[in-house]
Structures are given as C-alpha cells and as structure tokens.
C-alpha cells in the first residue's frame, strides 16, 4: 500500500494531480479490491527516452518505471541514428539522453526546450565540472565542447552568457577516454599520446573510426610529438585539418594502422585477438578485455584525457502532464541509483555524492577513489569483473577530470573534416 500513502515527487510538485485524483477515486470505488487493482487504474504517463547503449539499458528504465510509476520506454540507437532522430523527430520522444558535443546543432535547432533548474531537485548537488568547467579550483577546463560552454540558456532557449536558471541539458553520466594497451606487447608503460604514432608499434595500432573523435585522438598524438600545435583541438581550422590528415595519410601508407574500429565490441576484439598492441579506447572496453583474461591497461597520458559528457534533454514538443513526467524521470536519474548502476560500468555521475550511498564502500573506493579493490567487484549485471587488489587505471575521479585536455566536439569545419577523413581511409 505504500504507493497509495507515499506521495511521489510528481505529486508533491503539482498538488492534487490528475493521477492523485484518479487514485483517490479508484481507491473509493475499488474498496476492498486486491492490492494490484490501484496499479491498473493508475493513469501512468509514458516517457519515451532515446540514447546510446551507455544509458539506455533495460535494467535502468525498468527500475525507473518501478520507482516513479511512469511507463519509461527506452530506445537505444547507434550514434548516427540517434543524432538524426533527436534533431528531426522530436515528437517521437520526450527525453533524449544526449551529449554536450551535439549542442552546436541542437541549441539553434530548438528541438529541445530549456530546462528549468528550479524543477531539478538535486541541481545544487551537480558538480562544478559542468557549471564552471573546473572540477576543483585550478583544474584544467579543456578545449572543445566542454559541458559548461553549452549548458546555460535563457528562458527562450537562446544561449546565455553565464550561469542562469535555464539549461540545455541536465548533466549526468560522463567519462574520459584515452589509450588502451597490452603491456606484454608494448613492453613499456604508455604515458603519452605520442606513443600512438611510435614506430615501435607499427602495424599494431588502431584508431577510432569516428571522424570527429578519431582526429582529436590523432591531434593529441601529433601535438605530444611536437609536430603540430593546435589553436583548439575541439575546433580545428581547415589548415590544421589538412596538415593533420596529411600526416595520417603518410602513416597509413607506411602501414602504421592495423585497423579502424567503430563499435565498442570491435575495439575489444582487436585487443583480445592480439591484432593491436595499442589503440584509442573507451574505459569500459578495457574492463571487457580484462574480463577475457587478456592483459590491458588504460593509459593516463600526461597530456590529459579526452572527456565526454552526457545529459538529459527534453523535447520542445513536451508540455503539461508529460512535461511533469519528463522532469520526474530526470529527477529520478539524479537520485543516485542510476549513477551507481553506470558507475559499475566505469562511468561517472555529475552528482556523485548522491551516488555514494548506493555503492558499497569498496565499490566507491575502487570506481571513484582510484584505490585498490578491497574485494572482488561485479558489473551491474552481477558478473565479477574486478579482482581483489586491482586498481582502476587512470587514477581517481578527481585526477582524471581535473586534467581534461579536450572534450568531444563538433567542429565548425565538420563537413570538411569528414571529407578529409574519407581521403585518409581511402589512402
């Protein structure tokens, strides 16, 4: 009977909602009925949410449905399909679990509505990484589409010059990527992005085949080698792209690259099957390689990592009760449970202090603290993935995020970049 007596977030905000009215009516009408009856007459709002496989996971949306009494329907898409759908079909979803590097397109398109932070329960608990760009005072803000550069909006949806009441997305899960390597193959510790182009690993290197991100990893490499200096790696000029692609084409012709991967699974396979010694990699992929019994280390390059940040956006088509429900789903994401779920896959949450109670002490110390695992730890589905004594590569949360070199970005010269990238792959 807890559902009847305990008001939901939704109800406390809007007073006597339609749902509460229906409930009360149903309660009196169905007096003496079974416990299950109220759930049936409960006029649940349906929330359709779209995103990548990072956050659209059955267990998460089912749990959200259970906790909020909303009917949350998730659809996981590939990156290209997600981009097209969130931009062109905003009547087919209420929520997008999107990424800050898409904001140069999404904010002017007005496909999403500004989110009122006054309606976000844990807004003040969200860290400064997204609000000011500096996780701790003195942290590097990083080049490119850092969340704080795309967060603040005016009430009408236009960009605000500084902190305001309205935001483009509520920042949630995020991570920082770098290089993954097999220490038995490299025979040394990898501490710089320059190693990506080291002749020692010729023919044993893979790059991520997403032009926008692959070029950034490559740029980190040539900059670390001292070959080039970029004004902003998150927004390269045509001349910079030309020079970088010229270098990459030369390397490709020398046979430096073993492959270019597109999906998480491909990157895992390349490492597990021994095809590559070193490659650009996502953090959970390193965990997956280790789960296969193949040694794999996640490098913490001295130049810093490449960060990315996700969040929750609301379609501009959503109004009324649906809008209340959309806010309810976002608030649910910030209550800590979902943050703990994604933490066990290696992702971080913007309001990490709410996540802490949902993780065991050992889990918190390992995933956020960067300390050795005090016991064997499991992924969110219960499969053991971390052995006792293991240390997460890349250090603590703070170590990673106070030294972000560049954030995933959408460049102004994106079309040119894709063209030159095509030339690189065909070379």
């Amino acid at each position: 009977m807890t559902t009847l007596t305990k008001p939901t977030m939704h109800e406390t905000r809007t007073g006597l909602s339609r749902r509460r009215f229906v409930l009360t009516a149903a309660g009196s009408a169905a007096a003496g009925a079974t416990l299950g009856a109220p759930a049936i007459v409960y006029a649940a709002e349906t929330i359709r949410t779209i995103g990548l496989g990072v956050s659209i996971i059955n267990e998460i949306q089912s749990r959200a449905s259970k906790d909020t009494k909303l009917r949350v329907r998730g659809q996981a898409l590939g990156y290209g399909a997600l981009f097209g759908k969130m931009l062109n079909q905003n009547s087919t979803y209420e929520i997008t679990e999107g990424y800050f590097n898409d904001m140069d397109v999404m904010i002017p398109s007005k496909a999403w509505q500004p989110i009122d932070t006054k309606r976000i329960k844990n807004w003040d608990k969200i860290s400064n990484l997204c609000k000011t760009g500096a996780l701790t005072p003195g942290s590097s803000k990083g080049q490119g589409d850092a969340p704080f550069r795309h967060l603040w909006l005016n009430k009408d949806g236009s960009r605000a010059s500084g902190p305001s009441q309205y935001v483009s997305m509520v920042p949630t899960f995020h991570n920082a990527d770098s290089l993954g390597y097999n220490p038995e193959e490299t025979k040394r510790k990898i501490e710089s992005w320059a190693e990506l182009f080291s002749a020692d690993f010729k023919g044993r290197v893979a790059l991520l085949n997403v032009p926008q991100i692959g070029t950034m990893d490559a740029a980190m490499g040539v900059e670390a080698m001292g070959l080039m200096k970029f004004g902003d790696k998150g927004d390269m000029t045509k001349a910079e792209i030309d020079k970088l692609v010229g270098f990459l084409i030369q390397k490709k012709k020398e046979g430096h690259f073993r492959a270019f991967w597109e999906t998480f699974g491909q990157s895992v396979n390349l490492m597990v099957s021994g095809e590559v010694a070193l490659q650009s990699m996502w953090s959970p992929a390193v965990t997956a390689v280790k789960a296969e019994g193949v040694p794999c280390v996640y490098a913490a390059p001295k130049e810093g990592m490449r960060g990315w940040h996700g969040g929750m956006a609301i379609s501009s088509k959503v109004t009324g009760k649906k809008l209340d429900a959309a806010y309810e789903y976002i608030n649910w994401w910030l209550n800590g449970w979902a943050g703990a779920f994604v933490a066990r896959q290696g992702y971080y949450m913007s309001n990490f202090n709410e996540v802490k109670p949902h993780l065991s002490g050992e889990e918190w110390d390992f995933w956020y603290g960067g300390k050795a695992a005090a016991k064997e730890l499991s992924d969110p589905f219960g499969t053991p993935i971390v052995r006792k004594g293991e240390v997460r590569d890349g250090g603590s949360y703070e170590q990673r995020f106070k030294n972000i070199a560049v954030w995933n970005s959408l460049m102004k010269e994106n079309n040119y970049l894709v063209k030159r990238w095509t030339e690189f792959l065909s070379a």
């Binding site: 990156y79 290209g80 981009f83 097209g84 931009l87 062109n88 140069d104 397109v105 999404m106 002017p108 398109s109 023919g203 893979a206 085949n209 032009p211 926008q212 490709k252 690259f257 073993r258 492959a259 270019f260 991967w261 597109e262 491909q266 396979n269 099957s273 021994g274 095809e275 994106n414 079309n415 894709v418 063209k419 990238w421 095509t422 030339e423 792959l425 065909s426």
Partner: protein, 335 residues
C-alpha cells in the same frame, strides 16, 4: 499454311518434329472464344492482384526515392537542410578545390567521392570475376555431373548452408581464421613457412576480397545452376553424336544457354557488392571507404543533401552496370 491446314494436320506436324528444349507442347484448342470462361471463373481482376505490391512500392520506394532526389538539391546547413535549390552538392561530389585552377595541385583531379565510387566498383568487379570463376564450375558440377536429382538438390542446399546464418556472423567468422592468432597463421607457423604471425591475411585487401567472395558466391551459383539444369541433355547428346568435342559442346551449346543465368547472377552480385559497407568495416578494419560508408558518414553529421547525392550516384552506377550486363545478354530472348 497453318491457317489453311486442318486441325489434325497440325497435330501430325508437331509429332514429326523433335520436341525441342521444353518438350512437346499441348496443341491449343482451335476455337478459344467458345471456351471463354465466365467472369467468376477468371478470379480477381489483374488490377487487384498488382495493387498491394504497387502500393507498397509507391509508398516505400518511389516516394522516398523522389525525396532523395529532391533533397540532393537542397542546401545543407548545420544540422539539417534548407529548401534552397542548389547544384553545389553535385559540384562537390565531382570536383574539389582547385579543380579548374591550372596552377593548383588538385587541377582536374577528381574528388575523393568519385575516387571512392571507383574503388567500390573496382572491388565489385574483382569479386564478380572471382565469384564467376569459382561459382560456374560448382554450378556446372551440380547440374551436369550429378545425375541423381535428389543428390543435385541435396548438394545445392548444402551450397546454400552459409545463407542459413546471418550475414554478420559469416563476416565475423573470418576473424579467427585470418587473424594474427588465427588458424592460417597458426598453420603456417607450425609448418615452418613463417616464423612470426603475418598481418597479411586480415584487415587487408586480400582478406577483404576473400571474405566478399565467400559471402556472395552463392548468389551466382544459384541462377547459373538453374539455367544449366534447364539445358536439354538430348541436344548435348546430338552434338556429340555429330562429332563435337567436349570443348565444342561447352562453347557452342552449354555456355550460350547458361548465359542468362550468368547474367542474373552477375546482376545480383553487382547490386549487392556496390552497396556493400559492413564487410569493409569487419574484415578490412575500416581501412577503405566505400560509397556506402560515405553515405553513412554524411548522414551521421546530418548533411542529408550530400548523403542523397552519394546515394543517387551509387544508384546511377548500379543502373549503368545492370544495363551494361543486360546489353551483353538479352535475358528476355534467352529465357
């Protein structure tokens, strides 16, 4: 002569001649109008029969196709397009910066998109030839050497077995075969032919061509097998009786009669291979671009007009290819 000859004379005439490729045909009744069936017996009007398919094609093929053509002339903007008519997308497809500038390094150099379409065609053509070289003898064996119909069918189904699993599984299965720690490398190493694993087999042009051949060869075995199986054995016997050598029989009879099957098989292969993009990612490690991947890449950055231009060019290339194949073999006539 036919008009004046009485019915029995005509029947007699067909008796005297060889039944031909398709055997003896029943003589049509003389007075067809007398036998005209009642309207109810005729069943549905043909219009009703083609209506579902036509509607489906119009809604899901013709309309989207028109959309693609229209969008290809629109102007891309950051995250979408505006309906401003422009041929710039087509210019960008063919030419690149400095195309008409005699001093420029890109002078009269076709753009990467033309080159990519050409690369796509080159791979397609190579694989088609290899498939033909491998597929024809298999089809020949099935149709000509295997005498028992049950065995023929069983072996043909066996050739189809790879099609029972998903395309992706068939492509991915090459990884443990060709990889650095794969079967090939292990075998060559244990035989002492190479001393350390070779990167030659996987993520290479060799591996890509090999995988494409294996993935698509069945598409040409089928049609060739059917057209070979249709050849009347009596003709071959007759030719041999008249002193033709095996090679002459093949060149003069079997090959020409199997050409429609070859043409259909080649059309299947051509269309499928030109649109290929997944195998390049899985088996070639993304180390090449096909027009398919270019379309995807521009779709992913919401430059729909340019994706549309590439799609149209790919479609045109496919049409030209199909027309070319049909010019060599007149399928209608041969069938």
């Amino acid at each position: 002569m036919l008009e004046t000859a009485p019915p029995h004379a005509k029947e007699h005439q067909t008796d005297r001649f060889h039944g031909g490729l398709i055997g003896r045909q029943p003589t049509p009744p003389q007075d067809v109008s007398r036998l005209k069936k009642s309207k109810r017996d005729q069943g549905f009007h043909p219009g009703w029969l083609v209506a579902p398919a036509t509607t489906w094609l119009i809604v899901f093929l013709v309309v989207p196709l028109i959309g693609i053509v229209v969008f290809s002339f629109w102007t891309p903007k950051s995250g979408g397009m505006t309906p401003d008519f422009s041929v710039a997308n087509y210019v960008n497809f063919f030419a690149q910066e400095g195309f008409l500038d005699t001093d420029h390094r890109n002078f009269l150099k076709p753009s990467i998109f033309v080159t990519t379409l050409w690369t796509t065609f080159r791979f397609t053509f190579t694989v088609m030839i290899i498939c033909l070289i491998i597929g024809y003898p298999i089809a020949y064996f099935l149709a000509m050497q295997v005498k028992n119909f049950k065995w023929q069918l069983a072996l043909f189904l066996l050739a189809m077995v790879p099609f029972w699993t998903s395309y992706l599984i068939r492509a991915v299965a090459w990884l443990p075969m060709l990889g650095r720690r794969g079967l090939f490398n292990k075998m060559l190493q244990s035989l002492g032919i190479i001393d350390k694993p070779s990167s030659f087999f996987l993520y290479s042009e060799f591996g890509y061509t090999m995988a494409l051949t294996q993935l698509y060869v069945v598409l040409c075995i089928g049609p060739i097998f059917f057209s070979l199986a249709k050849i009347d054995k009596a003709i071959i016997e007759a030719a041999k009786d008249m002193g033709a050598t095996n090679f002459q029989v093949f060149r003069e009879i079997i090959l020409p009669l199997s050409l429609p099957g070859v043409a259909i098989g080649m059309i299947f292969l051509f269309v499928m291979l030109m649109g290929e993009f997944a195998t390049a990612v899985v088996v070639y490690g993304g180390k090449t671009s096909t027009t398919g991947t270019v379309i995807l890449n521009y779709y992913a950055i919401a430059n729909y007009p340019f994706s549309a231009v590439n799609a149209i060019m790919l479609m045109l290339a496919m049409m030209i290819g199909v027309v070319f194949i049909l010019r060599i073999v007149d399928i209608r006539k041969e069938l």
